[in-house]
Symmetry: C2
Subunit: 265 residues, 2 copies
């Protein structure tokens, strides 16, 4: 997503050229290219798929909405398995229109996962619940802290459901370091992502994630915490940023790889 | 601040006309009008000043910055005392430029309060630390949760330092209800404010607070929690909102009073 302006073949070639060993993919460009073709493309380039983003959106209160979400998440699991990644990232979904019931929405996520998690496990795919920054609680993700994500995950076996930690979403939370350690100790740290926090935030607040080193996040400290929690998997850089998307994708990818070497893990 | 387009005399007259018994004032318009004159104005109208906003901004790492902040907070205490309110709200301040050290900034707040709190107590003014939404952690307020605010306040006697709870800032936090109860039990609930959460957020995210009833916050539930925590003081409505500021101030004040009767406490 950091370089969504790059078509999949160019992205894969550029990663290979730059020595980037793994890439996190999003469902929409994969579906557009064809899941089997995308799987072949990355495999032929010797590239691993670190995670597939994203399943989730499990907060619907009506049976039809819930059934549609579960079915879509099963398709996401199938796509992840076809791509050869073991991790599907989940963004949980916001409040249904007109609802004020955060606790109810969070409970429905757990309920829906009772159907999705065993299906995923049967395909060799684990689920990673990603807490999103509290500014997204109403309209995108009612899971706002790593503690909340872990509390949901802990209803399931660790190899089925864990968490995705993105520094952009948790950097402000004084409880997150201890929760990251708890996730690691419990075998529930399933994905780890870096982004920096820059201000002012843009309208809508979705596409203002900072390039590594430009913002307020102590990235080396978070890399150290992930390391101490036993994380040895790929470290993703996920930047939703209108400014980066407006630039040449190859330049952005090179810059990001350089920033990762200086400020990352 | 909800109707900052109204000059102080019009605001005071309109509150009296509408049966609004107390008003929260901000330092800048009070200073502009003259502190003594403003005090006389509200007193003559039979209006109470619920709180003065705001002191704080205590995160400077350099001695000169710290000394200037302490001096400014003493002036804010003097202004609060002159206005006859017993509560000064504190917005703690963000990270100093280039800093990544949230924990250090939070510790400096506690340190600065050791000078300000006794001075305020001697003037009959208590301090209310307001946690701001985590989206302000970098540039405005490193105190992001009610739990963090209470942890700072609890270094001091309850009658000197407590918290200001604004639904806009804490509504997403599943720990906030228990922390609100803890604040009440400890005698540290010093101010209570309502605002709703609406999306999309505007650029800069400061001026998009929702009119009561327009958003995602379960306002009656929060009023019930404040009540259960023993809150019997004034309930403020603080809406930073470009849309409301562009309208006729008297209309906005009337609308807000009506919304308060339907959705408020």
């Amino acid at each position: 997503m950091t370089v969504r302006q790059l078509p999949l073949p160019e992205l894969v070639r550029a990663c290979a050229d730059l020595g980037v060993p793994a890439v996190g993919l999003w469902r929409e460009p994969v579906q557009e290219y064809g899941v089997a073709a995308a799987a072949e493309l990355v495999r032929d380039a010797g590239l691993a798929v670190s995670t597939l983003c994203r399943g989730g959106f499990l907060t619907a209160a009506d049976p039809a909405g819930r059934a549609a979400a579960v079915a879509d998440n099963r398709r996401a699991v199938d796509e992840a398995a076809a791509l050869g990644t073991d991790t599907l990232v989940l963004v949980s979904g916001g409040l249904p229109p007109g609802s004020h019931d955060l606790a109810g929405a969070r409970a429905r996520i757990t309920d829906a996962l009772t159907e999705i998690a065993p299906y995923a496990a049967a395909s060799g795919v684990r689920l990673a619940i990603e807490p999103l920054h509290p500014m997204f609680a109403a309209d995108r993700c009612v899971v706002s802290t790593l503690g909340q994500a872990l509390a949901i995950a802990e209803h399931f076996p660790a190899e089925q459901v864990g968490v995705c930690v993105d520094t952009y979403h948790v950097w402000w939370d004084d409880r997150a370091p201890a929760d990251l350690a708890r996730a690691g100790a419990g075998g529930r740290l399933h994905a780890f992502q870096l982004a920096d926090w820059t201000t002012p935030l843009p309208a809508g607040v979705l596409n203002g994630r900072g390039q590594l080193g430009d913002g307020a996040v102590d990235l080396p400290a978070w890399c150290g915490r992930a390391d101490a929690a036993g994380w040895s998997g790929p470290v993703e850089v996920e930047l939703f940023n209108d400014g980066l998307w407006a630039r040449d994708g190859l330049d952005v990818l090179k810059e990001t790889a350089e920033r990762f070497r200086v400020h990352g893990c």
